[in-house]
Amino acid sequence: MIEELGTTSEGYMVINIGPQHPATHGVLRLVMTLDGETIIKTEPHLGYIHRSIEKMCESLSYRQFVYVTSRMDYLSSHMNNHGCSLVVEKGLQVEIPERAQVIRVLMDELTRVASHELWWGAMAMDLGAFTPFFHSFRERETITDIMEETCGARLTMNYICPGGVMADLHPDFQKRVKNFVTLFKSKFHEYNELVTGNIIFQNRMKGVGFLSAEDAISFGCTGPVARGSGVKSDIRKLYPYEVYNKLQFDEVLETGGDSFARYMVRINEMLQSIKIIEQLIDNIPEGEFQAKTKAVLKLPKGEFYQRVETARGELGVYIVSEGGTTPYRIKFRSPGFSNLSALPQMVKGSKIGDLVATMGTLDLVIPDIDR
């Protein structure tokens, strides 16, 4: 048995990484059993930022509960809102206008790029390189500025709502996005020069935190973590929603299964997102940005489920309705939780430095895990 502090009966050292620790990017607590620097056992302890969002949603109307979900995975708040809106629309059987669909996809992809930018900087910081963080934030700021103009917020956007989007695009939106795409493409080589090609970085990442395809499936890993192990798991390809089935993009797959493979998946996903943005930005159809819906939404009695691909993987929204104005029960299947569950196996037998490298490539957002 592990004692809270001190050593185990075998003489191994027990150390707490977290709840307050620079490597966990939030209030995750890992109780580690160490033999010197080698990790014997890792136990994630959750619940330090649990806000019972699912329970809160049960007392909020179908229009209101969407906004709470921005606070789950705050780095992909558009995708969270998107999933919730889709499931409500599924229940209402509302057809949303094409313009709203395109705007939603554009916002999703911009958010994905922004999220991966932050991950890239934060992961490099975990490995001890500070400078990449500032370089990635240079581009990320452009995205948050675009978001601020259109959505009025920089982090918790609350822009996508049941029926479409809250407001029409800002007049400068297209120009700004095009500027961003140009900026991103001109600066992207710096990412590879500064980090990807670095020999120290490659030594730190290659062969570390191995996750086989079988394990990825059995732990329920999704998103870049699963795709790094060669498991096809892109919801945009497997169960297309909105206009994704009309778009040309590739599901990025790597077969390495190690930290470097997951790193490469995210790096290339940024390029794929840029590709999607380029396809859509000149083809935003004219028309309404919101479907006509009633002021008070009532879902018919039944169960509804919808999944979307967030920056971290598959987000599932499951609603049980009794026919009222609020959900009877709501459940989110968050990507971070399943991805974190694979961590103890991935880091077993490696060094503390590898833990940080592996956790960095899982791209954990703790409020998403705890909800």
Partner: protein, 358 residues
């Protein structure tokens, strides 16, 4: 011409003329002590500011720019803040060792200032085993770090201290071996002899490829010995929060922090002395006119310029590279650097015996 040598000689003569020799020697000690402490503080303050400015330059930022012009008083303000903070000693700590550790690290760093030649004839102690003294005393600081990690009674500190011990002991070897190459070429351990031997050209230019190899080895080794990124494992903040000084606060933390920068300065000063001629101006063989022009630049400027160039290199490393893992760190030393420096040492010895260098 006004040079630092004249000033020290004047003071020496004046002291000897006004009081008896033993009292004059004593007052010289006091003056040197005050100067060393002042230099310690000044170097700490300026290097911290330089680090922050260099980091800002690399990271598309401005860096400190509020306190004083270009933020030059930022570190002064920080030091004042640290002095006013409570120096906390944790309950479970070994109080004596915990409080002693920062002083050991600081004293080791200050002792290293002794044999450094800052300018022509401006040296505290031109001991005949100068280089040996430097390598020996620089290892003392590891005792302070181990002591700090152990006495803190904190597992992060402990892991950091253990890493530091393994790291400094290993990298001492290749640092020593690369220093020996210059000692072989010069034939002396005395700092003044080493500087004078570079009158007709610095060793980095005179010594062909072997000296360049030993310079690169030396640069890697001192980066590791001063615990700086990419070898900052003892204080890897994303792994061990703050490593061996996790539990330190206030002025005791400041002593660790300052001695880190002093150690960087010393290491770079040694590098500049051995490979770039110390205070020796840039001379090319028999170009009399060119050498004469170079002599007009004061020797202290030459020394500081070279040293700060090397410090800039170390800062460049720090803000560019990710950190190594602990086993990779030891692999790099024992499997690559040490064999390379040993073979290199043979090459330099052969070169020195045959007289192939310029």
């Amino acid at each position: 011409m006004l040079s630092l040598e004249n000033i020290t000689n004047t003071i020496h003569e004046w002291l000897n003329a006004t009081m008896n020799p033993s009292l004059a020697l004593l007052s010289e000690f006091v003056i040197i002590g005050i100067c060393a402490i002042a230099l310690f503080a000044m170097l700490g303050l300026s290097l911290v500011l330089m680090e922050r400015k260099v980091a800002a330059f690399m990271q598309l930022r401005l860096g400190p720019n509020r306190v004083g012009p270009f933020g030059i008083f930022q570190t002064v303000a920080d030091t004042l803040k640290l002095m006013m903070k409570e120096g906390l000693t944790p309950d479970g700590a070994d109080k004596f060792l915990f409080n002693l550790a920062p002083f050991i690290v600081m004293i080791a760093a200050m002792m290293l200032l002794a044999p450094i030649a800052f300018a022509r004839g401006f040296q505290i102690w031109d001991i005949n085993i100068g280089v040996l003294f430097l390598s020996a005393v620089s290892s003392v600081s590891v005792i302070g770090i181990l002591m700090a990690g152990w006495a803190s009674n904190n597992k992060y500190s402990f892991l950091g201290a253990m890493r530091s011990g393994a790291q400094i002991v290993s990298y001492e070897l290749s640092a020593g071996l690369s220093i020996i190459t210059i000692v072989i070429l010069t034939g002396s351990l005395q700092i003044s002899d080493i500087v004078n031997s570079q009158e007709n050209g610095w060793w980095i230019f005179k010594g062909h490829i072997p000296v360049i190899i030993s310079f690169i080895t030396f640069l890697i080794a001192i980066t590791a010995e001063t615990n700086r990124a990419p070898f900052d494992l003892p204080e890897a903040e994303s792994e061990l929060t703050a490593g061996f000084h996790t539990e330190y606060s206030g002025m005791k933390f400041a002593l660790f922090f300052l001695s880190e920068y002093i150690n960087i300065f010393i290491a770079c000063a040694v590098g500049a002395t051995l490979f770039f001629g110390g205070w020796m101006p840039f001379h090319i063989g028999n170009w009399e006119a060119f050498n004469h022009i170079m002599d007009y630049i004061p020797s202290s400027i030459w020394f500081m310029g070279k040293t700060f160039f090397l410090i800039f290199l170390l800062m460049w490393f720090r803000w560019t590279f990710p950190r190594l893992r602990v086993d990779q760190l030891l692999n790099l030393e024992w499997k690559y650097l040490l064999p390379i420096s040993m073979i290199n040492l043979l090459a330099v010895t052969l070169m020195a015996i045959m007289g192939w260098h310029f």
